[in-house]
Symmetry: D2
Subunit: 336 residues, 4 copies
């Protein structure tokens, strides 16, 4: 199965969707909608507006949509009004929200005789909820793309988010130019809910990297190297990623203000390891990290950012951490 | 302890060494030498030449130095002849090689009344060997910088290597402009052999990342996603690093031609975990990966590239891997 | 919550149920039944007969009950006929079997106006199935005890099985004298399905011990010590248990004829770790063993005895195992 | 290589050394010595006295030997005076003590023209120290047996210790009747220092079992089962060992008064894992337990009994432990 790439690294796989001139006309050929403009949704919608797209937005509480309206988008009063749009992007908070926003009484699919061609769900919802929506809208001629996003709102704002996309290939080709505008490009990974598996794998990896980073940072510190110097070096090395870069301020200055809580990360490990069990794939490293995260929750860090893994690691090494009060960049706003 | 940064990400910490004009004169102010021009050394030396430095090179077998000579460097016949240089970079194969090249009969320090001001050892040698050299050259007024390199020859060629540097701070300041020319910049991490600890931490991290990547790639594949699509997506995400990028061809096309063997990685884990034990730092994830690498060696993959972790992982998941024969970039030659 | 002990180690907790004279009359005071006389059930029922109990047995295929009939038990033709008994022990193969045998059309509870006072379920069934039975029989005045057995048929035959028991305390006191006859004594652990949790914990421990035994046995062998000598010594030491004793023949002579398959052990780890997750208890060692067992299944040993963990461990240590063809006792028939 | 068994389980392997009548004469045929009568040595020597042996004892501080003198042993004033004995048992505190007691100025081998035939070293010393002693005494015609003991003083007193023995086979046959008197029997495992490897394996196993026990005990407790009831049940089951029995009081009543500290257990894991590395045996479970023990030390429990693993496990599960103040037997004084 060949991956289908879009975006800056588009040369890595078959199909390519650039931002070249002949695409420009195409980009304006579709009428777009956005359902759910929380922090993530607002940042993403803003990028479509900046690219000159025709965009209507709906949010349960209209106040949250206002900043986008000031940028030129058209507000609508019910989700159903988005039915006239060709492609509707969705960023809602939960599986239940997805079902009620799409299939509910005044939901997107409730308008008589009218429905978008493609829905692009960028939320993190259960495969079951997604599959149910997919099935129920199919006979209305509407396709669902699962497009879970990798990155937080700051990453989106910096133009560095990506997404895995799965669902009908023709629906993907329709939506691809707009998906490409959202960040660093997206990857088509196949039919159905496969993109959600990619997201789970991504988050397992993120947890493992965070814990390994905690281990080596504490080792470096006990050896006499400041966390700032150590992480600066690591981030400049081939091992450095946007992720290890934007977690550096937390690890250096001990800011555990949550971007993603330990409890939420545990949830993703629950799901990821359950998927691994279903597919009969042993995951020795992910499994041990799962237990370490459970320990973090048990020790009372459940509502802290998962970067508190550093704190737990230091405690078990007999090291008392203090903030280095260093001026560490999160690396998101470089032009690299 | 504040990190001291040089290079493109120099804004991350205090001192900065740019490539700006006023530095250009400085760059040409020192006479440089290079001792040991194997694959790594040759690529690194080439970068100094390209920047217009005055460079003399020595290699035990002169043939290996020839390509550099053609590029304009001055060959010398004995290591001792490099004694007239201000700064000498060293890339040798082992601790014993280091000691004999520096302290031996015709070694660098054997010239009467003459010695470089600074030696920069970019090799991977033991802290003991390094400390011995450091001590013996000190009374000759020569300082040793430990500057273990993070990256392989292809990474160097792409201009993306980095190094942690430790030793006397004034020696560092002298060598910094040239170190900066070698790649993406370097980080000063403190006195003595501290840079070697950074390298060990880096390699522990590399092993953990490689194993975690193997786990999630096999999970993705058993779920129905091609390795190519999966890794393309991951590499485009915030988790993607140069490392995960340049290992993608190996994971996709099963090319386990060694860049770094499983046995060598085990050695780094031996050293890294011994250092952790000495500093009383528990390393649960690194320790389990150590054992997994030992298993890889036990199953006969000791001389294969450590990317064979993917093979071992697939076997334990009941999955038979076949090459995807995909045209996957290693990501090193982008301008990103 | 105080444990309630019965049997030979009765002195370890409050209540004691010996085999002393004044209990003898009591033992014969109840009419007993046995539902399901597979390998485990037959061995257990045989012990009640040997102690002189009044016992009726039912098995779906009557042939399996015949050996017990020859020993003096009364066969019955439907499960319903056991309704006239005071206490009925149950050993069936699955949750569904339990439900149909008790609540089904001709099941134990189908007799009009008649039901045993106490059911003692010694099967390994789900807590859900057990709870359903418990609830449905309660209004008939019948109590259910969960009494999952720890030990295999050979252990039962040797008089060395035990069981955790949970359910109404008065029902326990009624059944205790007979439970005590089944082996080394039982332990009352509380209300409801708690005994099933004990069984899960027991089996997690069993898997961890089996893997650790594999690790150290291979280490000893690669050091030059025969498995026979090593395990003889370990079994004689304070670490030796009946379990490590009766697995010795398998580890020494590589007899992986299943007593309990790797797939079944994985199932118990699935359940045990799910319970740990529910109770928010990190289980680092059990989790890693879970993944090792998954690897064993993935490598094709799913239907072999879980002692094949030794084989997997040897392979990863580069060791080819051969049977030692030694005359090793399983330790079950000693009088210790 | 066939194990050579002696003692009660002697039927498990070839050679047997019982306590039968015809052996009695033999037992008194040798003149025995004991060097070092600390807690372990005193308990062991007492058993030889009780069996009627002719025993002389030496201890650096004579006061410690007095209780044995009152039981009929002959005190000597220097280690050298034990040279007239046929077989001398040794229980000293460290490798240095061994070397000075045997090879030192007034050591056992310092007497002119006289030396025991066999030394039996029951201490825990390094293989290097042992090998040195072995080599130096060989040309005096004296053989060394390594016989590290498995069990603590209470285990010895209860008659339940065992030992692995290695060294020259004829020396073993000479010493065997007396070794058998020390506890449950010993096992001959081969030449040289092999017995020390058995001890390391034993202690790795002990650590793994202690941690697994901590995990399941906390799981059981959070499910609603008292530690007392849970451990009573486990100890009655096939998984119960003398070890799990005699740790029960610590786990139930939280008595972490050290019998063996976490720091000492870590030391054995250091050695055991180093041996595994040398023999290229991956030890995934032992390695993770090693790190968990390191964490225990890092959290300040280094001088507590290793049973504090339970405490650490409870903390990571968010459970506050309180003593159950239960009357739990350590199981050592049963006649089982």
């Amino acid at each position: 199965m060949a991956g289908h790439e879009a975006g800056r690294s588009g040369d890595m796989a078959g199909h390519e969707a650039g931002r070249s001139g002949d695409m420009a006309g195409h980009e304006h050929a579709h009428r777009l909608g956005w359902l759910g403009t929380g922090r993530m949704g607002a940042e993403m919608a803003r990028r479509l507006l900046a690219a000159g797209c025709d965009l209507a937005v709906y949010n349960r509480s209209p106040a949250k949509a206002e900043p986008l309206v000031r940028l030129g988008t058209k507000p609508v009063v019910t989700a159903a009004e988005l039915a006239a749009r060709d492609i509707v992007f969705i960023t809602v908070g939960s599986s239940d929200d997805l079902i009620s926003a799409i299939l509910g009484r005044h939901g997107l699919m409730s308008a008589y005789g009218m429905a978008p061609r493609v829905l692009v769900d960028c939320s993190t919802v259960s495969p079951e909820a997604s599959a149910r929506v997919r099935a129920e809208i199919a006979d209305r001629g509407t396709s669902l793309l699962a497009a879970p996003v990798m990155g937080n709102p700051k990453v989106v704002r910096a133009g560095k988010m990506t997404a895995a996309v799965s669902g009908p290939r023709d629906a993907y080709l329709t939506a691809e130019p707009y998906l490409t505008m959202l960040g660093r490009g997206v990857t088509y990974v196949g039919e159905g809910e496969l993109a959600r598996m990619v997201k789970l794998c991504h988050n397992l990896f993120l947890g493992v990297v965070a814990q390994s980073l905690a281990e080596i940072t504490v080792l470096a510190e006990k050896s006499g190297i400041s966390r700032e110097a150590f992480l600066a070096c690591l981030n400049k090395s081939v091992m450095g990623s946007l992720f290890t870069g934007y977690k550096a301020p937390a690890y250096v200055n001990l800011d555990f203000e949550p971007t993603f809580t330990a409890t939420l990360l545990r949830k993703d490990f629950d799901l990821g390891l359950a998927a691994a069990r279903e597919h009969e794939v042993p995951m020795p490293v992910a499994a041990i990290v799962h237990q370490i995260i459970q320990g973090l929750v048990g020790r009372g860090y459940g509502d802290a950012d998962f970067a508190a893994l550093l704190q737990q690691q230091a405690e078990s090494a007999g090291l008392t951490l203090v903030s280095e009060h260093a001026d560490v960049s999160d690396g998101l706003n470089t032009n690299e």
